[in-house]
Assembly symmetry: C2
């Protein structure tokens, strides 16, 4: 199994300004091609750091991919260092220079020295045209050791474009894959410790070529089951074990692979020719935004109302003032009236609601921060379910969004909520 | 200036399942204390990888902090490897064991072997109590070299809790800081290349101890100006240059430091005793959610309506059917009617709206994916502004959200939109 080292170059990551998502995306996509990520290094835009990282990368892996450091601003020294590392020098890449000149001309902007610097590339490497940005990618190959080094820009969509058009095709062509399979089973409503105990006897049966990993997040607990082997017959065993694993996880399983809660929900709504609308208080629009984040969501979501103030709950959703007075805004009764209200207002099959205390303010002696009611309404059922999440505004909102979608998924599947 | 190496331990990061945000948060908080991050390493839960990373970390820095690998599941070997690295052995930490037993008892869950494994710690290290989770943190110190190693859990809120209660106080006490200052100036509506050219003469004046870095994101272009020096008099020069920098950036500047667009907006609304409501189409609730993400937002936002379907734009926002027919849903006229409609409906000082084509579907020959109109309405002004963003659903939504907030900020400040 070929190994890769990923390097993120950039002071802005080390000072905590930028969150590096590039290596995460590359790791996902290389793993899916049977390439193992040996390590990820985040380093400064400094000569010594870059050379050390390349040395270490070539010791531990066949493939190195770096992101970042290709801009034209003054703090960029990546290009020069890489040329030096491979014993070559920088020269202007004419097609890139002409392309940048043309773009600047079209936009009526003065051509600057900064822009010119972007077209400098090390002599002797392969230049990878960047159709989404200015700085091209670079490819160095070491024929004697069957090793390669891809230099990509740090802007995420440019990096992805170059990876898809150049890096992945090259790797698929030049590196043998093992038999590699990996499947992710996505669960909700269960803790990692509980699942670890439940799966302990199952784990005893795994071959050394198989791996089971737990990955909890705010919107799911994912179980990844994978195999990397040279023996085709082990794949058959893997498939048998996978079925067993799915049976054990069945009560908590909502999806497989990359399928998110919002995609699973969308597909179920389409399959049932159902539509949905949402009434939000504590989630503030995040639930509606999550459902709409799926391309084509207009087929099933009509919209939503964020009734953050009590007055709006009454005026826009038809919640009874007496309900708010007697039970409070964060209550089973209010959640139900909100769900019923939005369903009627928007004329959808399903109405879904959230009302809770996201914090830091708003707690009462009987309702701590994290108390959330999620309401559900369709033509036959109306109910609300209570949750107590941790005391953290962002997490309360995210967990509420995930659990609201999960309630609808279970309801449509005919499972108990 | 003391240096730190951050290590994220976890196969789930290397296989691209989990996005590592822990080292990003640590980097931010350590930089703010004048600690330089030498490197960030993401490694596998493997003996050799962990030992190599510790070796490299101690070569390059005084402080090492690792996150992850402290769970109790079968794939966790961090604890054993660390004990081995420091020439010691694992033994049960009685207070932790008793705490876990008590929690399991309270929750009526059977005490498992997995749970027991969490209370194993290397003999001789300092155990850092974890009040947000089960696994405690660990601290190893090397007195002869004035080096230290903190072992933290990977669950973000547990890691942050331990960092705040133990790591940062220890570092502040034991490591001398240089004179360190860092300020981030946040801009909108300008490109990195343009600013780099504009700031080139300014950059010529910087001392070697000063640094200027650019950090573009979907919601701002941040300029970070910092100094790390032993000379107090250089700080005076830094302050003079900082004023000059602010003057150059003034036309684009919306905030300083960690202030986000939504916080700046919130503070301006409070200062002006203004309220806001939003009518969303293409942003699907993300604008409302972003404004509400700020604690205390209920003081100025009343709520919003996501009118994803045209029918809802008519019924809930009072957009005229003739407007939709004549100009389309993605038009200046519709954006204005949406903003006016939500303002009246919710009785707020300001109404804000978004309507656009987020893609991948919905483009027309004259309106490509990425076309967005943002509408603004208050008692004296109503207008809409057009944007053409890139062809990417998520980025169109995020850029629309940021620009909508920026329009209100400029309007309140009396700047031209």
């Amino acid at each position: 199994m070929a190994k890769a080292t990923l390097i993120a170059i950039g002071n802005e990551i080390l000072i905590g300004r930028t969150l590096d998502t590039n290596t995460h995306w590359l790791a996902q996509n290389l793993n899916a091609r049977g390439i193992e990520i040996a390590q990820i290094l985040v380093i400064a835009d400094q000569e010594e750091a870059i050379k050390n990282a390349l040395d270490w990368g070539f010791t531990k892996s066949e493939i190195i991919i770096s992101c970042g450091g290709l801009g034209g601003t003054i703090d960029d020294i990546t290009r020069r260092t890489i040329a030096d590392y491979f014993g070559t020098y920088l020269k202007t890449h004419e097609p890139t220079l002409r392309k940048i000149e043309k773009i600047y001309q079209e936009r009526n902007r003065p051509f600057t020295e900064v822009a010119a610097r972007i077209s400098l590339v090390p002599e002797g490497c392969q230049v990878l045209p960047n159709e989404e940005g200015l700085a091209p990618g670079l490819l160095f190959t070491k024929e004697n050791t069957h090793q390669c080094y891809f230099v990509l820009p740090g802007v995420p969509h440019e990096m992805k474009h170059l990876a898809q058009t150049h890096v992945f095709p090259y790797i698929e062509k030049h590196y043998d894959s093992h038999f590699f399979r990996s499947i992710t089973l996505r669960t909700m409503g269960v803790t990692e410790t509980y699942l670890a105990t439940l799966l302990a006897p199952f784990e005893q049966k795994l071959l050394p070529s198989m791996q089971l990993a737990y990955n909890p997040s705010l919107s799911s607990l994912d179980i990844r089951f994978s195999i990397s082997t040279l023996e085709e017959k082990e794949l058959i065993q893997f498939n048998t074990l996978l079925e067993e694993l799915k049976n054990i996880l069945a009560p908590f399983l909502f999806g497989e692979g990359e399928a998110t809660l919002e995609e699973v929900l969308g597909n179920l709504l389409i399959a049932n020719a159902s539509s949905i609308s949402v009434a939000e208080s504590c989630t503030g629009g995040a639930l509606c935004a999550k459902i709409i984040s799926v391309p084509g969501a207009s087929r099933y979501i009509h919209g939503g109302i964020v009734a953050y103030a009590n007055e709006q709950k009454i005026n826009l959703l038809g919640v009874k003032p007496s309900t708010l007075q007697e039970f409070g805004a964060v209550s089973e009764q209010t959640a139900i009236e909100m769900a019923v209200g939005i369903r009627e207002k928007m004329g959808t099959t399903i109405g879904l609601s959230t009302t809770g205390i996201a914090g830091p303010d708003g707690a009462t002696p009987t309702k701590p921060v994290g108390t959330v009611w999620i309401g559900y309404a369709d033509a036959y059922n109306t109910y609300a379910k209570q949750f107590i999440f941790e005391n953290n505004r962002e997490r309360v909102i995210q967990r509420s969004v995930a659990n609201a979608m999960y309630i609808v998924i279970k309801q449509i599947k005919g499972q108990k909520n």
